[in-house]
Structure formats: structure tokens, C-alpha cells
Amino acid sequence: MELQINGKSQACEVDPQMPLLWVLRDVLNLTGTKFGCGVGACGACTVRVDGQAVRACVTPAGSLQGRSVQTIEALGTPQQPHPLQAAWLAEQVPQCGYCQSGMLMAAAALLQAKPQPTDADIDQAMTNLCRCGTYQRVRAAIKRASGQQPVGAAS
């Protein structure tokens, strides 16, 4: 099948039932998207499909024909990082970093839908789990990237 991944058309000979996560990781070697639970509970595998945040571990490849997938590898470029990536560094968000690709993709989808998200918007959209507890910095970085005053930045 033909999949649109990061702006490129990719021919993939895979079972249509194969979840997008494993197509990305094991077929296309795009390893930035992570495996955390396999049941859509943790969000480590979050990518964008037509701009929306989607959990790739429960999204069959066959459901993606004609749709556009974006992974962390294409969120920004070294020359032009996404504002969220710059904000993530400014707020020093990641620790172990494993969940952060998914966090960033969920945040990117949020900002596209709501360029100035409120705390309630952030609470609702950011359901990804982080075992290192980076949440307050995630919130501060989303605010920073959306041009709002970061609240409760690390003291």
C-alpha cells in the first residue's frame, strides 16, 4: 500500500492490520515514535494523521490510505525547529525522553487546533503518560510556544 509519511509517498508491503507504529519503526526505520503499551493507553506512540493526534499502536496501516502521517522526525528541522521543540529546550522538559516524541506530537496537534490553549485545553489534550513527571514543564513549554506567559516555571 501507499502511505503518505512526512510528506513522502512510501510503498509498504505490509498486512493492512499491522499497526502504524510497527510500520514506522520496523519497516521504515523511523524509530522516533515509541512503543509504550500497545493499547493506546500511554501515548508514547502519538503521531499526527491529517494534523490530529493519533495513537499509532492502535491505528491499522490499512486505515491510512490517502491520509497524511507526520512523525517526530518531521516536526521541525535542525535549521527550523518547530516552536514547540524550541520551547521544549528552553523549558528543559525531557528527562529520560522516551515519552517526549509523543508529547510533542500531541502538543503540536493541540496548538494547530487551539493556537492559544488554556490550562483546561492543555489538561484535556495532553493525556500522554510520563514516568519522569515532566508535566509541569510540558505545560510551561506549550504556553511558551503559543506566546503565552509560562506559569509556574521551574524555580
Binding site: D26, C96, G97, Y98, T134
Partner: protein, 765 residues
Amino acid sequence: MRRRTWLLSAAAAGGALVVGWGVLPARSRLGAPHLLPTAATEVALNGWLKVRGDGQVVLAMARSEMGQGVHTALPMLVAEELDLALDQVLLEQAGADAIYGNVAMFVASLPFHPAQTEEGHRSTSVKVAQWMVGKLARELGINATGGSSSVADAWDVLRMAAATARASLLAAAAAQWSVPVQELRVRTGVVSHPSGRTAHYGQLAAAAVALPPGAVSLKPRDQWRVLGQAWPRKDLPSKVNGSAVFGIDVRPPGLLYAALRMSPMLGGSPARLEPDAALRMAGVQRLVRLPSYAGSSAGFAVVGSSYWSAQQAVQAVQVDWQQRPTGALDSQRIRAQLEARLARDDGFVFHESGDVQKLFAQANPAAGTPALVRVAASYHAPYLAHATMEPMNCTAQVSQAQVTIWVPTQVPQLARAIAAKVAGVAVDDVSVHVTSLGGGFGRRLEVDFVAQAVRVAMDCGGRPVQLIWSREQDMGHDFYRPMHSAYLEAALDSQGVLQAVRIRSAGDAITPRWMERTLPALAGPVDTPDKTTAEGLFDLPYAIPHQRMSHAATHHGVPVGFWRSVGHSHNAFFSESFIDELALLAGKDPLAYRRQLLAQAPRHLAVLERAAEKSQWAGPLPAGRARGVALHESFGSIVALVLEVSLGPDRTPRVHQATCALDCGTVVNPGIVAQQVESAVLFGLSAALYGRIDIRDGVVQQSGFGDYPLVGLAQAPQVQTWLLQSDAAPTGVGEPAVPPVAPALANALFRLTGVRRRELPLMPA
């Protein structure tokens, strides 16, 4: 200069360098240059540092980055002493030599009371024990990342390695230019002389290697430019663009993938396997049976062309499981056994002072001295899983008696040792590549998954194979934080002053089990007292005239392991909840009560006062909110935590604000310390609210984030971190803020509800 003089002068030059006798780095720990592999343009100056042709310096990195920022903190030590910018220090994984071993972690594992290890108060026997363990740890050279010890262990060693290298480089410049070394200056790795001559380190290294460093001194604190600053972490750029390589991200050519099923009954094994249907599935190559390795349950793996195909097939295998030969494990039964053990005997007495027995006898109402009030309470904490976001995994390749593993591990040499054992090759025939760790928290001090991956790779005809555990396998086959129960008793005089405390606790000891499965050559024939069982209970900072603290170590067969903050994780809940109970009994404010008990503990008192001030402990609160406080020392650091808590409409506790004061000695990077405090508070909060692992008929009942929930962003409090100024040597950072969370929360809930919760977790299942 003779070695001892050299060490002492270096120590003196470091200012208030407080180093335990046992952890003083032997000069041998600086290592010889030949320990570092070098490219043609590189020159090694000792076992830790080499200089590249362009003047940048490469540090042999012997600790794993699992989120705690050690790949930034350790190069900061080097950048400071070598006068380099932080980005001029590059990292390469260290080899297996003993100089890279963790000495501080092993010395800290000795079961001494803090009063016994204070500088100036150490008895000869304490000094001898510390020296012997330090010596043994140096000989063993176990490179382990854990015990909040990385910076403490590296503090002298890496600064001396860098200062020594700098002295040789300067000696080389002085010799080349025929100028006195005192006239040289260094800035970002460029040596200059007032005459106008300059050279960067890369131009001096070849000459420097032959020159003795001469007199070496560490930079005085007031000249620090790097240490104490919140430098951005070196590893973060790769963690915002997906390029950081975790264990599951390595992609050696020809890679196969393996999925795993172990006996759902802990310690069980497959009685009968019917793999034919699974092996006929597309992309599936083979099934490999796996015995119990390093504490794991037995099972099997299926190898396929993608992880998904392997996972589909492993699920399709028909299998009959059998219980372990000694019978099914059951957490409720184990709990009853712990209570019975507590009633039966004390176990090992970790600390005793005064005469608790006599005081308690006086407090007995029948003795007719109502001046003393006696109180007792039972506490309990369940098994817990680590639940790292990156499930256990290891990639292995076995070809022609050469083994290569790529693994997110906290113990690369132990991984190497078990890989060699499983493959039947010499240790020297195993190469280990340590990847980034998607969380460790102690789970990756184990090597069960390494052995499994190597065994699978042995059947894959020389191709590399990546074994990944599913979340269900990861949750159901952890090395759990052990269940513990405690019985705490106290006697207060008529003024409410605490006169006596007796604490008895029981639970499985971790260290002997871990030694048996990961370091079998060193495991003893009998269990010796394990500090991790009693830490945080036997070493209370409070002035209590009569104390007796004991722990009865049990061995129930549930795989137990080191879990972030280890024994402190349950013991602080017991002790700091109980202290709150005593404050109530004495009719005192809980913070004021602690303050009174800390009159002779100035460091603890200062931490408590900072938390009180910053949390506005005595200040007004919104309706429906209460504050709870806890104070705890672990890994050499002191934490006071105040939580501001309310109850939601469904009576769910909600933590709004966490105010944390921390004394961790000298702060190397305050930004990273704040990150770690935030992390530890959230880690502790998930456990305090929800964390429990139940075992029935041998089967762990929790299988994922649905039934082992973590606090999410919407429930996360704002954590504020306040660091105390200190010139003492650095102590632990990654763990110490975990222990006070559960008691601070329970103490706040008591103020909200009037109900004392003595069992974790605080949310009903």
C-alpha cells in the same frame, strides 16, 4: 610528590572538601592512558580523558543516562577543572576497567547509623568497614548507575582526572615556550601566555602525555564558572527530535525481532507448548524456549521479521503453564505472614539507644505512672512495579563465539557477564553498547532480559535480534518493590515530649536476592543484614532518648528489586506518618513538633524551616484545602516536603502544590536538581495514590497503565524546588524527594478528613 601528600594537597585546595575516608579515590582510580581506545588524532592523558586533535576533550562515560541528567552533570565536573566550555566535553562509553566502578554506592550500603559515619565521630570499626568495602568496590569495579550516587562518586575522581590532565597540558606549554607555568592562562581549552603565544589542548596533548602533572590542585569554589550553574542538558536536543537512541531503537543490519511470553505464574514454566499454528504465521521464523534467567520466570520467545509479527505469533502459541514447584505465590498470604513474623520476633536490631523496654514498662497504665503515654500503630505498604516507559528490551547478536549486545542497562558489566555465561564465551568476547534508557528506577539493575535476548540470538544464525517485552510482560514480571509491614510504638511524657520509640518492621530483603541473581560469585551463604530493609526507619534524625529499631528480613519468593529510593520508599511513609500521629497526641502543630525534635540537627532543621517558609505553612488556605508535611533524609540528602491537598467531588485527593526544600550538599546543576525533584515528587505521588501490585495464584493481577495508573498531566501538582546553600560534597538527587511524598499526602488527608491512613495506596483499588 608522594601519593598521600598529593591527595591531601588536592583535598585541601578543594576548600571544604568533605570526603569519607572510605571513598577517598585511590590515585589508581585515575587510570592509565592505555585504558582509553584512541583514534590517530586523539591522545589519552589518563583513564578518563583524552584530547582530540581539535582540542576538544572526550570523557569516558561510565554512568547510564536514564533521565537523571548524569550525562550533563559529570562533564560539568570535567569542564570546570579543564577550563572548557561544556560543549567542548564529548562523551564516549567507558570500557570495563575497575576504575569506572561505583565505589560510593557500595560504601553507602553499609548499615551504619548516620551518627556513626559523621566526620570526627567515626569509630575505628566504622572506618575499617568503610575502608574495606571501598577497597573491595575499587577492586570489583562494578560500573553501576543507581543509589543516587553518580555525582557523589565522581566528585573527586573526575575533578582530579581533569585537574591532572590540565596540569600536564600546562606543563607541556611551559616547556615548549620556556616560560614559568604560573604565567599561563587557560580559557575554553586555549592556553595563552602574556607574550602572545597560544595553543589549544589538541596542540599540547602529545607532549603533555609524557610530562608528570607536578603539583595538582582543584579549583577553589569561588573560581567556579561551570559548577553551580543551570547549564542546559547535553542530551535534550536529541530528545526533542526523535533522534535519541533507546534500546528499542538500535537497528543493526539484518535485525530480527522477538516477542516474549513468560509463565503468568511467577516462577512457573511452560508444561506443554503447541507452536505449530504460530510458526505458520507470516513473517515468523522460530520459537526459542527460555529457562529462568537471573530471577525471571521461564517461558519462550518467537522471532519474526517485525515486532508485530512476532507478538501476534507469540500470542498464538498454545501453552499449558505450571506453577513453580514450591507452590503459588499470593500477596495476601504473604501479608499475613509478615504480620505473624512481626508478632513473633524482632529480627536484626539496626539501632538501639537508651532503654526502650524500661520506658515502655513505666508507661504501662498498670505501673501507675500516668506521666507517660504510650501509643502504637501498624503500617503497611504493598508491592510496586517500576513501570518504566520503555519496556524491558535487549538486542543481541551471537556469531562465531562473538557476542554483541545493545542494551539500556544500569549495570553494563553485569549484563556482559551474563551474556558471556549464557552464550558460553569469555567475557572478553562480549561487547556491550549502552543506549539511552527510557527510565530505569532500579529495574535496569537487573539482567534477566539480557540473558533472554542472548539465548534467542544464539538460535538466529548470527543475525541480530531485538527482544522487546510487552507492557503486560513488563508489569507481570518485574522485580517488585517489596511489601513491608511495620509496628511503631512510642512513649510521650506529660508535656508531649517524645521519650521513646520502638519500631519493628518486616519484609523481604532485596540485596541478597539481587546478589544471588546478578552477582552470584559474591552472594554469601547466608543473608547478612540488608540496610535497604531498615533505611529511613532505624536512622531517624529526631532527638529521641530511647530507641530500638529492628527489622525481620523475610524471603517469600516474589522477585523483589531496587525501586527508586528503595527502603526509604515505604519506611518514610511509616515513620513520618507516625511522627504526625505523635504531634497530634502531643497537641502540637506537626511542623512545630518536628522543629522541637530537631533542635540538635541543624541541617534538617534548616531544610524544614525553608519548606515551612516557602509553603507559607502557617498562612491561610483556600476552603477545603489542607497542608501536610514530611521530612526525610536519604542518600545523604535531606528533603522537607509540604503538599497542599483538597478532596475532589468523588473524594479523590488532589495535590495542588508541592513545596520541596532540599539539602544535597554542593549543587552541581540546579536546573537538573529541580527536574529531579519534580520527577521524584510525581513518581512518589503515583505510588502513594494508586501504586499496588497484587499476586493471586502466582499471577500478578495488574497488567498495564489501566490497572497500575500513573498520575497524568491534568492531576499533576506544581512542584517548587528550593535548594539550601551548602559547601559539603554533593549527595543524592535522583531519589531523595520520593520518600516524603506518601507521608506528606497522608498527613494532609488526615487534616482534611480526620481519618489516619496507615496503608498504601491511599486510593482504594
